[in-house]
Symmetry: C2
Subunit: 220 residues, 2 copies
DNA sequence: TTTATACAATTTGTATACAAATCGTATTCA
DNA sequence: TGAATACGATTTGTATACAAATTGTATAAA
């Protein structure tokens, strides 16, 4: 049920019956799925009103940017301290999938695998309290990345490439149990993500030259 | 459904049918309640195995003590910054209930109202990410307080009295929007709670004098 | 006596039927 | 023409019935 991280628009309400038909299950298990997704912050359930896809307002967005570094950094530290050796190979496997997805330029798949990558690191921290926060953060982070994604820009490939490299470095730091390094790399990674998001909040200004606009008029 | 914060033992499994009969509702809504409580960290649901009350192992306990100050302090800061004036009266109302509960020496009710007090402060922070963490922390904190509670000890009344005072001070700091003060008071409050818990992890040693034990033999 | 297997009983998961509530539309009255 | 109300249709919530799975017990074989 990763319909949410991707296609369905925030705020839209979900048709219970339609989804039941689509997935070939009855209403009872579907409602239980709704309950779980609601608890995870994917959906909002209202009395006698059904399920809506959760959406983000401005104040929540501020909190997101304010809180994310702290959560991510502490998760990284704890992961480096408490990772079990058997957790490393699955993480590396996801990273390889992530690498190929970025090389293929598959944005949706990249975002999803990035989500799974950071979630796995979250599990390594073995801290149930921060894990719930991380879960909510990742959901919103992934969705922000998706909504703000633009297909092909100049600096974009280099940024994505850098992100893949940072993941590699983070794996090494966690594997070698170097908490401070893991924190530093994670904050770098966050700043890269910030750059990416900032590019869309404050994009390049439109050309001041009015002739360009006049030309477009004919095209429309 | 505050059955959990109090009576039912951690690890015990819940009888679906019995609870349905008890609350006069059918299995479907009860299962939906289970789903929610499971998401909140009250219960653990296992495949075809029903619901068990969540329990805490040693490593989770370590994480609890490691994580709590950070979460509580940041919640306090954000609450002082972002509280809405209409949120203050309900908080004060809970505090008054808490005060009377402590004066009556009602430990269970005190713990529950303390829980509600800190939850209300969490809501004032308007940070959904930290709020999920706070929720899990408070559940475990309240349960720890309960399990470690001993009825009447010398230092206990003064500690509880101090806790009530600290709550008052916290309300004032939040109402006056003094984030730094709110953080300081919250950390003091946490340390008081730590003292309380420590008293039970390392209680007064048993008397070394063997004669006392011999005397008891006859009594048994 | 102990262990393994089969069967019964209980418990959990899913589907469906029915009740309650909400929403849209149409008709009526001002 | 506009607003309000009433009625029908759709959607959501709850109960119950049935299927699947698990657990406990009893009996038989080693």
């Amino acid at each position: 049920m990763r319909i949410l991280t991707l296609e369905i628009a925030p705020g839209s309400d979900l048709d219970e019956a339609a989804l039941c038909a689509q997935y070939g299950i009855s209403r009872t298990p579907m409602r239980e799925i709704f309950q779980r997704l609601s608890g995870d912050g994917y959906l909002r359930l209202e009395q006698n009103r059904g399920a809506k896809v959760a959406s983000m307002d401005l104040s929540v967005m501020r909190m997101f940017f304010q809180t994310a570094p702290m959560i991510y950094a502490n998760i990284a530290r704890l992961a480096a301290e408490h990772r079990r050796v058997e957790q490393i190979p699955p993480l590396k496997a996801i990273q390889e999938e992530f690498r190929t997805a970025t090389e293929d330029g598959d944005a949706g798949r990249s975002a999803l695998l990035n989500h799974r990558f950071h979630w796995k690191i979250g599990l390594m921290a073995h801290n149930p309290y921060l894990l719930t926060s991380l879960n909510r953060m990742l959901i919103d982070h992934t969705r922000l990345s998706q909504t703000f994604y633009r297909p092909a820009s100049k600096g974009e490939e280099t940024r994505v490439y850098k992100a893949v490299e940072q993941h590699d470095a983070m794996i090494t730091a966690i594997e070698n149990q170097e908490p401070e390094l893991a924190v530093e790399l994670t904050l770098d990674h966050w700043n890269l993500s910030l750059d990416r998001l900032e590019q869309f909040v404050t994009p390049d200004p439109l050309p001041l030259d009015m002739t360009a606009i006049k030309d477009r008029k004919h095209a429309i």
